[in-house]
Homo-oligomer: 491 residues x 2
């Protein structure tokens, strides 16, 4: 059965009595940690999930996974101090258009350097590349929506959703009308694999610094009232179970009070009580909201300017800017990092992205396309904000009103046309059935030396499918509009 | 350090800032299924737990575990149709004093027999023997509080609590002042072991009946709004993960509607849709509340009178009566089931239990002791109700007012004097610190042929420590007064 035929027979009919199936999903969630926190610290809610995994073309899935190691390499090189600090020039130019966030990150990065170098050359990336299925001309291909270099989430919960779907399918919970072959519902090993990435960095630190393994720990920097803490905790427990590594959790601001920097042999080392910190794993600091005061920026600098390996460094975080993504669609720029023979899998996922308000060839083309073929594009602000995208026919009018000197705060991105699939979403105990859109995220971990670009570890580390009702504008799972899905591979 | 010295240094001082420790406990619970359901089907609450495992004498722990296989054998023999149906005479006499429950169970059992025999001679017991530490004369020994033959609970959650305590101890979450050796905080493998018991019965059924393994399933009979469902689900998931056996869940009343009995080759077999039921696992039907109408009793008979193996059979459930426990303290009665050389480990756990309102030697002794040494005893109704026990000095006055013909509804049981230990209890996010009392439950599974008493499988299957504040009268974890604890073994 082709993918197009398969999605026509969705949604799978629910058993006449839905109660036991919904109960099965919820009880499984509460038994297996597929949960999110609530305002009441004593209770948790099941994570929002689809009842059934969404049909997904096997070739698109395989291509997306396949591209990850290449993307890991690419972004590790971009955020290394090689290639004449290629990233510097881009961020230098971008910073003024977003002084409060990009600008402050850029300043933090520069202040963290000692003699123009980072105190710790090793950097860890836990990345996620997001794709939608594009179905232009009947061909199904993965097209990259964005590349995330900081605080990628749902690596913990996605493993659980895949296991839930497999359990339901295997035990016949979907009823007699819904048969799935378990081979077509892959697992996502992102919990163990992302934890392994953290462990690799930890081990490299211990070896590099003659630290005592039993006295060394990972420091997770987390938001104070993080509802998605369980997603993070799964990695933490796996770090302990599989590698014997302890994680301590603090908020960025707390970190300056409960940790200290000790100078040993002229090296600034970070300590949490008696434990030397090997890796600072940032799950906070990815959004302007996380820096309400200068003290927060000071804390970020404090955490950057020491020997611990950062996941990610500020510099790596900056490499995730949309502007970078746009520039990389220019093949001559991409070839500075990837050899001609290796660019295929990456380039195949690119849509056209053009700069606005630039006196370049791309800038001119963007202005023209925005006027003549707006139906093919979306206008996105450089800085992710949610809800600020301008779609299709609205673009010309929007640009007309926008002063020309503010145009450069936007990029023009070719629209991806994903298939619409009917599915059932269970969110806080309520069932929604309707047309949905999905986005596949592929996780990757890479550990590298930013002074010479040498890669010490590079791995594909599972995947995530997020699905939302087509009728909702925003897809954030934590924010309350999307849900976690699983894939049901179709040839 | 001796046990008495150890408990003097309890409670372990909490870290100055308790927040991270409490958060660690709650997040761990939500990540690992240490949860209970709430009235809102979309949310769960962490199970009530002690922050630290309670000190427990290693010898008492070992003796309690040691006795379990013997108790499994004893109760399998009692609920077999051997020894001239020893149990029949006891229940026949007991039933009139509790016609609505014991009487109806007794009637159900008799109606289920065909030509005086059960349709399925194999019976599965998932038992739990409960003990308190007695510290008379400075000796620490386990004394049996009661033996449970039906719907024993917390075999799922106790494994999780032991793992939680081990995790907290190993990762230093208790702070620098609280050091535990992991070897002294044993795991309780009750999830996998109790599931294994169910699997043994399932396999025996498949072999016995030429059933198709893939088309055969376990039927769990559960209360409709069971808050402790996650405890049960853990066994269900393990049955699937380790043995590939599917479990279907129905309430007793529902069972008569969604299952059917098919006569094949003259044998009544139970079916849930297309699946032949191998084992009916009762987690409902242990309390008079579960039988509000005759339809419920009809449902219980319906589930009993077919080829599926019962866990437990009505007859086995009846063997858990307090009256049976009392009679077994008479050595001559015990020797009908256990050989002289094997009774030691069992008898050592017995306190004195005497019948009231009987014209026997025991009855006379009871009446005398109740008047002369009431401070040594508790008066318990035959039927467990909670809050109906009469303690010490209250006994003589109570008996005075009670018509003599109602005396036989009670037994006189020697008091156990457990040590009081300070500990911290976390319940629904609230922390309580105070004097606590604990009860150790030891799980055992036994599969036997009730026609000839032959035992096919007999195992000790983990343990449970329940702890409550001394100031609360009732210790029920699910009912809201007690919590789940772990043991910290002290030599």
């Amino acid at each position: 059965m082709t993918f197009q035929e398969k999605i026509k027979e969705y949604p799978v009919t629910l058993p006449a009595s839905q109660g036991p199936l919904l109960k099965s999903v919820q009880d499984w969630a509460f038994s297996n940690g597929l949960t999110m926190l609530t305002d009441d610290p004593a209770t948790a809610v099941h994570a929002p999930v689809t009842l059934h995994p969404s049909p997904f073309p096997r070739s698109v899935f395989d291509e997306s996974i396949e591209a990850q190691r290449g993307f890991n390499t690419l972004y590790s090189k971009i955020s290394s101090f090689t290639n004449n600090n290629w990233l510097d020039k881009i961020i230098d130019k971008l910073a003024p258009s977003d002084p409060d966030f990009t600008g402050k990150l850029w300043e933090t990065h520069k202040l963290s350097l000692v003699d123009g170098k980072p105190i710790q050359p090793l950097t860890l990336g836990l990345f996620r590349s997001d794709y939608m299925i594009d179905q232009k001309d009947g061909n199904l291909t993965p097209k990259q929506v964005e590349f995330n270099t900081v605080s990628v989430s749902f690596g913990g919960l996605t493993s659980k959703v895949a296991d839930l779907h497999r359990y339901l399918a295997a035990t016949g919970a979907y009823g007699d009308d819904a048969k799935f072959d378990l081979d077509d519902i892959p697992r996502s090993n992102s919990i163990s694999e992302l934890a392994n990435g953290l462990a690799q960095a930890h081990k490299a630190y211990v070896a590099q610094n003659g630290a005592q393994k039993s006295k060394t720990a990972v420091l997770a920097v987390v938001e104070k009232h993080e509802k998605n803490a369980i997603d993070q905790r799964h990695l933490e427990y796996q770090l302990w179970d599989n590698h014997g590594i302890v994680t301590h959790r603090v908020s960025m601001l707390e970190a300056t009070k409960v940790t200290e920097i000790r100078d040993l042999d002229g090296v600034s080392r970070l300590y949490y009580n008696d434990a030397e910190v090997s890796v600072v794993y940032f799950r906070e600091g990815y959004s302007p909201d996380h820096f309400p005061t200068q003290a927060h920026w000071d804390a970020r600098l404090y955490l950057e300017k020491n020997r611990a390996i950062k996941c990610p460094s500020v510099y790596t975080q900056l490499a995730g800017a949309k502007k970078v993504q746009q520039i990389l669609t220019d093949k001559s720029e991409l070839l500075k990092f990837v050899s001609e023979k290796d660019i295929g899998p990456l380039v195949n996922t690119f849509v056209e992205i053009l700069p606005l308000g630039e006196d370049s060839e791309g800038g001119k083309r963007a202005e023209q396309l925005a006027r003549t073929e707006p139906e093919r594009f979306v206008l996105k602000p450089q800085r992710e904000g949610g809800g600020n995208n301008i779609y299709k026919q609205d673009i010309p009018g929007f640009l007309e009103k926008l002063p020309k000197n503010e145009w450069s705060a936007y990029i023009l991105m070719e629209l991806i046309n994903p298939p619409v699939i009917q599915n059932h979403i269970l969110r806080k105990g309520e069932l929604f059935t309707g047309d949905t859109l999905s986005e596949l995220g592929v996780f990757g971990t890479v550990l590298w030396n930013s002074e010479n670009g040498e890669i010490l570890h590079n791995d594909t580390t599972g995947w995530l499918l997020r699905t939302k009702l087509e009728s909702s504008n925003e897809g954030g799972v934590a924010a309350g509009f999307g849900c976690i899905d699983g894939v049901y591979l179709v040839d």
